[in-house]
């Protein structure tokens, strides 16, 4: 009897796991931790359905990888069983290094270590546990494996990671315009000269994919309420760290978060991997709940605002925020109650949000025509996605406390 587990997924129906090593990786506590990290952080404050987890997303991306490989093999592309297993493991673990509420908290909790580096460290450690079974997956992840297209499926302009998160995020938010036709795109993928490409007939689906992504960015990921709540969370942790630095003992949470915030860890991230792998959304939310009762008025104000969804105001605009407006906002608060200039920076602050439709320099979506010609999608005749549009759109915001 063959090994076989089936998982219900509202997005794709069923996800099949028919490889014992893959099932063992999924069962590993470090993978199970992803159950307790929401994929979309605080977006559920706007879209109440958006509470799905990183575990669910990486299972979904695994499913799409399975489909992609099935399609490519059907077109005669050579992929060995070992490569297939490795590619599936890579995508399963591509996000395993994410901490809670990234991208907001990433730089706050663990400075100077990107989540991809953490993913690699975790994969290497698991590779030891599983007797080398992840070696090829690590090569694919770090783009050292000769068949480039396997890495491109994991991390590229048209990777299964993006395809799953756009599909899944639009599903759970209910933003139906964000829906992409992942199944058609998967059927249009091919490998040409060793690179992942899209068949000519897939051009319109790719355009739709890029436009949907643009919509998801401005309507969901950078929705002003989402942006506001996530920036407030950053402020909460800055404040907690400031209080900790000033010797306040009450601010230390009863979890691994405490050690991180207080910089008490000895050695490198690699030395503390097991500790890091205990961190999840619970620690952050539990801390925010406790700090909501903290005596520092700035900290408790910020925490209760995020908990109870009585958020600051956020204004998003095309031009940089006028310093006059910042001063005006700060003064309005000072008129209400005494607050130091340092503390005011927690109640009025500015920032930038940016998104590009398609960057032909960095990203490459190559279309292969029936006659063997290859063109970047921005150079195709009558392309929707051309040079001008590929410029990044930058918006500026001011976020400020405004009591009712």
């Amino acid at each position: 009897m063959q090994f076989r587990k089936i998982i219900n997924d509202p997005v794709y129906g069923f996800i099949t796991i028919d490889d014992e090593l893959i099932y063992k990786i999924i069962s590993h506590p470090w993978y199970q931790r992803l159950r307790r990290i929401k994929q979309m952080a605080l977006s559920h404050l706007v879209y109440p359905g958006a509470v799905h987890t990183r575990l669910h997303h990486s299972l979904g991306a695994y499913h799409l990888m399975r489909q992609a490989i099935y399609e490519l093999k059907g077109k005669g592309i050579d992929i060995t069983p070992e490569e297939e297993q490795a590619a599936k493991i890579t995508i399963l673990l591509h996000d395993v290094g994410h901490g809670p509420f990234s991208h907001a908290l990433e730089s706050v909790l663990i400075e100077d270590v990107h989540h991809e580096e953490l993913s690699i460290l975790i994969m290497k450690k698991m590779n030891e546990e599983f007797g080398g079974g992840l070696s090829m997956a690590i090569e694919i992840f770090t783009d050292k494996y000769p068949k480039k297209f396997l890495h491109q499926l994991v991390s590229g302009q048209l990777d299964v990671d993006r395809m799953d998160y756009l599909t899944r995020d639009s599903f759970f938010t209910g933003v139906s315009e964000g829906v992409i036709s992942y199944s058609r795109i998967l059927k249009m993928l091919t490998v040409y000269k060793g690179e992942l490409m899209v068949e000519e007939k897939g051009i319109y689906s790719i355009e739709e994919f890029l436009i949907s992504r643009r919509l998801m960015y401005w309507q969901v990921y950078l929705h002003k309420t989402v942006l506001c709540s996530e920036m407030m969370l950053v402020k909460i942790f800055q404040r907690a760290r400031e209080l900790a630095a000033s010797g306040d003992p009450d601010v230390k949470p009863d979890s691994v978060l405490g050690a991180l915030l207080f910089n008490e860890l000895q050695g490198s991230v690699r030395d503390n991997l097991a500790l890091f792998c205990q961190l999840d959304d619970t620690d952050v939310t539990a801390a925010v709940k406790i700090w909501g009762r903290h005596k520092d008025p700035i900290l408790s104000l910020l925490c209760n605002a995020v908990l109870n969804r009585t958020l600051f105001k956020l204004k998003l605009q095309a031009e940089p925020i006028d310093p006059v407006e910042i001063s005006k906002r700060k003064r309005a608060i000072k008129d209400l109650f005494p607050v130091s200039d340092n503390d005011l920076d927690y109640l009025v602050f500015t920032g930038e949000a940016e998104n590009s439709l398609y960057d032909p320099k960095e990203e490459r979506i190559n279309i292969v025509f029936r006659d063997g010609t290859v063109k970047d999608i921005s150079l195709v005749d009558n392309a929707l996605i051309h040079q001008n549009l590929s410029l990044a759109v930058k918006k500026f915001y001011i976020c400020y406390y405004k009591p009712e």
Copy 2:
């Protein structure tokens, strides 16, 4: 007990009819005729699900009109019960003048009369039957009613007609990328200075709507197999008419189609409205089946090819077709069997297909900002839809017989 009928619709769930006059109009034989006219003509040769009818589409558009009016009234826009009823009747009947397999056959079957004119003639005739109950609907349809926005809901860049056909056609074809968020767009509609506009927050949904429409055009409506089969149908009718003109009695179908093809009708279209209202897809398909056994080899060849889906080849390209290629194709056929030059034009022919993303001159999608500013969507900051893109894209095709 209030009048109330409910119709199951796979697209919207349920369609409610709670007005007796509207139910009577739906029950009219001239409306019921739309059951026998497919919305997408021969597209089902490529997309087997695309067999939905014009009756189903116009019921769907009626449902969206109901929703649109509900939303607008919820925003305080003044719409009287009479106007509401009239707007619903207008949209129900907006396509009632369509003949079978339009747009392909429109100009072939009834020359010089556009289907909109026929719709108006039919509405006027029904207005007599229903004692003037359709007068306001006719004013709205012909854009003579003072509240312009009601006409814009029926026929404009963002009308419920387009919203339904894009939604419905992508539903029944299974081209999921074509799905638009009609419900969000409806919620973003508003009336400002008497005109239908879109609220600022709806910009991304409108972009998605336009891109989806573009995709539906190139991937579905102008799909080369669809285009080919529809052009072949046109050729079939040209041939039948030619044979009729030459006195062939066998070509006359045993339906109203016969009289139309043989130009036997006395008087204007208006005089023959009842006759025209007997025409539907059945007449055309029955004629094609009979002509498939006709002794004229060109006619039977074309008919059997369409019936059995052994279609001609069609090549679609950005540049006009080279006359050299046309000659080459014709010669290839002549090499196989003797055929006159006149007859060759039925076996090798060319044409053009065109679609524009958005034409700011003709169409107007106005965005109203929170501060009362109004801008055409192509002029909004960072607009995806700008001047260059709004140019129409024209493609050229050659269609030719190629025996296996």
Copy 3:
């Protein structure tokens, strides 16, 4: 490059055809004919979306067969590539013998030959054309192939035919309660002792499947308006035949239907297969349209009623129709205008409709438990589907003309 065609299907997304023989069968004019036969006959008079075709259904059933075989092979069941191809061909052609508007017209148009027999005749004829490529498919269809479970997948209590038509019919009607979880049922199928069975974990899905089927019968297939229109169609053809028998020349349609109605065919059905394979919905509808203008008042009354959806009344009840009621209805008509007793039978008639939830004698859904025990689903502990419920439910109807 491997052979590969992809067809969009709104129900399953994409249907893949990766076998040249199968593609040739699909391209055969006798298969293409199914494009012109609606799966649900006149049900669209109630459910406007229900205009999908037998071609679409058999492609869908083919897709489910492909899935079923993939799942069974994944469980280690031995199925050779030849068997896989044959099983797919069998299901593709299982309905190829259907005439227009069956089941209503089946016994009227071709007496004494069941559509399954016609399917076999057609498969045999195609087998000659394709050089014996359909031999194994015919064995499976006629249950002569040793691996019984392949026949059971085509025709049994849990075959892919039923799974597709329930899924597809509920999809196109919009009767969402009829939706079954075909993908879960397919995953629960297994082969044990050579027979198709369901794994223990699938019991609740099977219950749901049977209840959904019950709902579809009473709410859709035997909906009183659907029943009424189909019985009226039967009456139309009885009348036409009666008029033909009495020597009326005007009643003969200009299609193969004429020969059938007038019993002019020489020889057996087998001898006239090619002729039968020209019949489709168009012939019936075209005849009904022409007969709507026929001088016989009974025939034209019936035809226009079906065309314009001004149907007779139908009453459905648990008890047989009281003869007193029949007389009363007939008298009411006679009071309005003179009509012979023979003709009255076209205007007032009765009949029966029947459906059983599950018949443990005929049908067998066997559940195989983890310990190897096999039980009929009606004998499982706490079974919903037990002896009493399996009795057929019979309803009686009277259908009568009632002018407004």
Copy 4:
């Protein structure tokens, strides 16, 4: 400009809030707390999508109430604007008294107070804050309001609570067989003699609803892995309380949970409502994470098993568990390591799970026929749901630790 907020919901599309009082209630911290309580507790260990919250469910139930009232008013049922507002408030708050991981933890955390009583206490307190605006809602909730049917819509056999949770839970788990046709059921509801009833045409939809509920119970809510994890959570809290009672200081969590577990609260629940309203899933999960590092081996074993999904085994069967089996399981553990008899009860334990299809004594689904007859659904002709089936099905389970 009318007040109007729109919330995206993947299940229903959009949820509209057009009443300021209702928006204020939703904005209340006690309502916002429901964001942090998962609707389906630990079911996500089996169905990874099932992480939706009680806030999302109660918004969904509110939406269905809005629809139900719209349908009933369309049928001429008299419902005043005040009653409409009150009914919406009632359903919004019907679950506000739920604690984290109910139903598992309900009796463990707050003994002797049912969540409905807590909901009433909370509604009364909010009623004070909102100046009496919730008075009618409280009357409806406690079934003291004269129009009984309003209470039946909130809490009855066919209430919008059940309709939403079945719909939502099947949506998020991906168990598509659980889908019910809420929109058809809503359209079939009516009020007759002051009671909520179902129109005759709705019988099959109701059957489907009951069968889907049965399926959801056995396949989801009482899935053995879900049952096992929830019973283990109960054991965790029993153990923590036992340790607390024995004077262990390390077991006390740094949240309101500590006070509850240590029975430190003064006064009644009513006196401690604000405290209770700080409790959510975070407190429980944070405690489980901390206890995973506790020195008591039983507590840490249980906690890590739930966190890492290395759960105990659970066997579900029709007969009570044989005491011999219990002894055998306990002995097997004792053979591995020394453990006291008291502690063994945390590692091997038994219980019962029960579900009835329909209980005609308690629940009443009345069908009203066109002639005014009213019958309980279990007494209708050919009813699927009859006396025998209405008996509750009881299953027994044993849950035991089994190291790999």
